[in-house]
């Protein structure tokens, strides 16, 4: 009997094609959409961790409270000891100190007079200590636009746009003017080793990237750091593990009143995007629900129209002694075959597209010029295991439900009426 159903579907393609297309398109869009949102979240989390404060970050309570003002006077001290304890107690993370600061970059001419000047944001990371995880995390090599990576003390990288704006080429000397940890003024002469472009507007507009030891020397931050960033060794943010680590760490200092006591926060709270990411999940659920509902309604109506066209056939089959239940089940069987085929094709096409965009990405540089979120402008989808079923199951369910709803009309009609329809 399955053979009969398949034959019927194959030969009467006008009947099966439209529902099939509906399912294929719906499932494909669901898969692509899902992978897109996953990719978006991934991009945001990954970029925020890499260029921001890691998957988790330890700061002093006071610093954490005013973090966006880069209050280095409130930075952690005794960082070496704290690092050792973190390595020991939280071995699933790679721990590394980072310092952020704001300053002024001054470009002197041959006579030492100011030729150009501009504000910069600074990020200092551990580039040179043996065993530092930063080179792997930041992965600077591919971001270089000109010059080379810093090879020694006093060498820095500049955002390529900033360097161009100030007329700087690799090898140029610049003077950094910034405030020390204790409120004094500091100047340092640095050499531009190279220029970078991360593809994240927030980074690329005006950043200077330097070694943490240089920053400490300039800012008078011996054994201090604004934050100690922790990165999962896996490279991926694990929300639950991050929250557990933070809770365990903070419990130790729960009774302390010291505003300089360290505290651990997670990427989600630091970025203030927890709610946003929660919305994303809701949106994802809503998208799947909308596709499911749309497919269901379309397939239901297609089923209704198809059945009206087939009342004659159904009448004859009933006259031949098929029960209504059996006819009904065969309609659902046909739908299941279409749903299965459509969901399969839709999932394959959706995954193909998602994998393509995962590999090549789409660049939104033009519309994201002024974005201050730490995200790269090239977006990739991210195909997760869930993408294999997220469209498939709703696609199949919508087809079967649509046919089941439409087919109920059979029960509402008298057998003799069904036969009459075809004589009219």
């Amino acid at each position: 009997m399955i053979r009969f159903l398949c034959l019927g579907l194959w030969r009467d393609r006008s009947r099966s094609l439209f529902p099939l297309l509906t399912v294929v398109i719906g499932v494909m869009l669901t898969v692509v959409m899902f992978s897109w949102i996953k990719g978006f979240t991934e991009n945001f989390l990954g970029t925020s961790a890499r260029l921001g404060s890691g998957h988790v970050a330890v700061m002093s309570r006071a610093y954490a409270g005013e973090r966006d003002q880069l209050p280095n006077d409130l930075a952690l001290t005794g960082v070496q000891g704290l690092l050792e304890r973190l390595h020991r107690d939280f071995p699933s993370f790679a721990w590394t100190p980072r310092i952020r600061f704001a300053g002024l970059l001054d470009v002197p001419d041959e006579k030492g007079e100011t030729r150009a000047q501009g504000p910069v944001g600074g990020l200092a990371v551990d580039l040179f200590s043996p065993g530092s995880p930063e080179p792997a995390i930041l992965d600077l090599e591919p971001t270089l636009v000109g010059g080379a990576l810093p090879a020694g003390r006093g060498e820095v990288l500049l955002a390529h746009e900033l360097a161009s704006r100030l007329g700087l080429a690799p090898g140029a000397s610049v003077t950094l003017i910034a405030g020390t940890m204790f409120g004094g003024m500091a100047t340092a002469n640095l050499t531009v080793a190279g220029t970078f472009r991360f593809g994240a507007p927030a980074m690329d507009r005006g950043m200077i990237l330097m070694d943490v030891a240089d920053a400490r020397a300039v800012l008078d931050m011996d054994d201090a750091a604004g934050e100690i960033a922790g990165f999962f060794h896996s490279g991926f943010y694990d929300r639950r593990a991050a929250e557990a680590a933070a809770a365990r760490f903070n419990a130790r200092f729960a009774s302390s009143q010291d505003p300089f006591a360290p505290r651990m926060d997670t990427l989600i709270t630091l970025s203030g995007m927890g709610q946003f990411l929660g919305y994303m999940d809701t949106i994802l659920g809503a998208i799947v629900a909308v596709f499911l509902a749309t497919m269901f309604i379309v397939l239901w109506n297609t089923g209704l129209m198809g059945n009206i066209r087939r009342y004659g056939e159904i009448g004859v089959r009933l006259a031949m002694g098929e029960t209504k239940g059996r006819v009904y089940r065969s309609l659902i069987g046909e739908a299941a075959i279409i749903g299965l085929a459509g969901s399969l094709i839709g999932t394959v096409l959706g995954l193909a597209l998602a994998f393509y965009v995962q590999a090549h990405g789409l660049d939104f540089g033009n519309i994201m010029k002024n974005a201050s979120l730490l995200m790269t402008t090239r977006f990739h989808t991210h195909v997760t295991a869930a993408a294999y079923v997220i469209g498939f199951i709703p696609g199949l369910a919508a087809t079967v439900l649509g046919a089941a709803t439409a087919g109920r009309a059979i029960y509402k009609r008298q057998t003799s009426r069904l036969l009459k329809e075809l004589e009219a």
Binding site: L7, G312, V316, L318, A319, M320, G321
Partner: protein, 240 residues
Amino acid sequence: MADELLIRTEELVKVFPMGRSEVRALNRVSLDFRAGEFAGLVGPSGSGKTTFLNVVGSLDAPTSGSAEVLGRRIEGLSHREAADLRNRSIGFIFQTFNLLPVYTAYENVEFPLLLLRVPAAQRRRMVMDALEWVGLADRSRSRPAQLSGGESQRVAIARAVVKRPPLLLADEPTANLDAENSHHILRTMAALNRELGTTFLFATHDEKVIAYLHRKITLVDGRVERDEPLTPAAGRETGP
């Protein structure tokens, strides 16, 4: 066996609601049919012929009265039991052939056997036999759209008789056919009646059909007006 009572209706009434009023399609129809008959209901349009066939064929329930078909009381059958009775014992032939358009002649004839779960080898033999009876064994792979009206109706007959039902109900089987094709299928049905003992009950206006009948029942306004035996026209002998 030949005199066995196959159908008995007593005071059969079928009323259809019609807006505020109602239509009395069958009005106390009492008729008996014996196994092997080749009988026809005639009468003007709207006289209740189709309704009678539908009730006897368990496609429609009577409003009152009783109908006993092959030992089963139609009015007491559940959906499932009615389907089972049709499946095993009754073949239908319609004015509009009603072949399933996406299936070949062979598959159309095979369909009732699939419902009866006849094993594949036996099924094949029965289908080919039935197609041979109607003279279409060589068109078994054709789809309905590729068949003429006469050929389509012959396939429909093969489909109705393939399971060798004791009772065959034919509602205006010749209405869409020309004279030559009408005679062809009538000869086929007469032969089936003779050789297999299948009971035929027709609803028709067609003089060509009436010429083959052994018994003619005239309905007017849902009532039996006349019930008369006929001597079938030349060239034809029917049982019993």
